[in-house]
Amino acid sequence: MDHVTFFALALPLIVVATMVVVHPSPVYSALFLVMTLFLLAVYFLFLDAHMVAALQIIVYAGAIMVLFLFVIMLLNLQTEPREQQRRGLRRAALIGGGILVLELFLLLRRLPTGDTPEQALPAGFGTVQALSERLFTDFLLPFEITSILLLVAMVGAVVLAKRQG
């Protein structure tokens, strides 16, 4: 990924991600999050992660965010006039965010900043074949555990959302 591509993706990413947090209307927030996820998928394409990019759109943009929109519409959440943000909390948020940014820069000074040569990529890096071979051999146990997690989540969601009586 060259510098032009990076900034052409990174700057919009930061803008839409900020809008997710700042926009008063929940529907718009969700839509900005969809845009963030979409931009990230494009970003993944440039990082040779084709399969991850496709899954990002199918799972995140296509399923999880639709679920969010569904709940927002079901509860009919309107734009709140001005969310009563307690001043103390806002200050705490600013301080916390500041500390995180500071930490980031401290970390960065330790990282090699120059052009570290990237490893040569094996053929078929990030394709379905390469990924699934690893997934079904070395990562088989986590994979199975994930399926149990999903089953538990599914049952949990059904039990929670079911009306009593």
């Binding site: 084709h50 496709a54 199918i58 943009a61 296509g62 639709v66 679920l67 569904f70």
Partner: protein, 362 residues
């Protein structure tokens, strides 16, 4: 440079074909429903209010779009103006983008150059299609929400629940297909169907995966929100659901999206289950009949035959969907959810298991 120009030309060609076919389907649907209901159907355009010429097809293909596109651009009171305008566009873009991975022919050889007849050859082709299909729901949800109308909101909520639910059986039926052909690339899937079983029968996907075909067809019709799964629009309950408040060009866009989704389902069914562009016994250099006759053909003729076969198959499945639309009554909402979650999903899971077992055994 030349490669880029070819890709661009292919993309434009695919888009034009799809858009024109979408418009044509509107006429086919009107005439088709008339045939089924023993009526004559749209058959005349009254020019300047007089002269009832029998123009038939001209009516729907020219007069109708002109009427729709010159109408007032209406946004209801209290609606979200931006999203109300964006929703049809958001609905249109992903369905159009789906077509670039569907192959409509094998290769065209001109001199030294080998041109694949597919706009984009992706190794994750089927995943790409699933991604685009899953983005299609946003147009419905946003159109319903932004209209500031109860019917529209109800349509949007129904649409989002229905489309998430039916994506799962659709994806699972595709899993079985992918296991059979061992590839996510649509061109490779289409090529694999050119083989012959026992030297006589073309090895089309329907012979290996009949159950997956039925599930995919049902889920595909549900994804395109057409009768018997048209609960998001349901004229008799919700006026017209998520596009109740739409008129003019924006409503025309939603209608176009509807028909393009029909073409997507037809195109995918053709590619995955009915051999795609394959003509039985036609190889790259001509016909090779099993009884030994060989008819050599130039590359251009072969390509044209393949594109023609693909188009014919797609048209047949579009026609089939329109027939289904005018034959079956609408499901009730609980029936829809029961069919999806208790019928199609277990069935498709069983199909995946059976496919895996058979693949292990043979």
């Amino acid at each position: 440079m030349v490669d880029f120009a070819i890709t661009f030309a292919l993309t434009v060609m695919v888009l034009l074909m799809v858009l024109n076919l979408g418009g044509l389907l509107l006429w086919v649907e009107r005439k088709g429903s008339a045939v089924l209901q023993d009526r004559i159907g749209a058959n005349r355009a009254a020019i300047f209010g007089r002269l009832p010429f029998n123009l038939g097809i001209v009516n729907t293909l020219i007069a109708d779009p002109i009427k729709l596109f010159t109408k007032e651009n209406f946004v209801p009171h209290g609606a979200d103006k931006l999203l109300h305008t964006l929703a049809p566009i958001i609905a249109l873009v992903p369905v159009l983008m789906t077509f670039i991975v569907i192959p409509f022919g094998d290769v065209l050889i001109i001199g030294e150059r080998v041109i694949p007849l597919q706009a984009a050859d992706l190794n994750v082709g089927l995943l790409y299609i699933l991604a685009m299909v899953s983005l299609g729901v946003y147009g419905v949800v946003l159109g319903g929400w932004a209209s500031n109308n109860r019917w529209a909101l109800l349509g949007g909520i129904r649409g989002s629940a229905q489309m998430i639910s039916y994506e799962i059986p659709m994806g699972l039926s595709l899993v079985a297909v992918v296991m059979t052909f061992g590839s996510l690339n649509l061109q490779e899937i289409a090529r694999a169907q050119g083989q012959l079983i026992g030297g006589w029968i073309p090895a089309w996907g329907i012979l290996y995966q009949p159950v997956a075909f039925l599930i995919f067809m049902a889920a595909g019709i549900a994804e395109s929100k057409r009768v018997p799964f048209d609960l998001p629009e349901a004229e008799s309950e919700l006026i017209s659901g998520y596009f109740t408040e739409y008129s003019g060009a924006k409503q025309a866009t939603f209608m176009l999206v509807d028909f393009i989704e029909v073409i997507i389902v037809a195109g995918l069914v053709t590619t995955l289950f009915f051999g795609g562009w394959q003509v039985p016994f036609l190889l790259r250099d001509g016909f090779h009949f099993p009884w030994g006759t060989v008819i050599p053909l130039p590359s251009l003729v072969v390509a044209l035959l393949q594109v023609g076969a693909f188009t014919l198959k797609v048209l047949f499945f579009c026609w089939l969907q329109i027939m289904i639309r005018w034959t079956l009554p609408r499901f009730r909402y609980d029936q829809l959810m029961n069919l999806g979650w208790k019928g199609l999903i277990p069935l498709s899971l069983a199909n995946v298991m059976l496919t895996a077992l058979l693949l292990l055994l043979f």
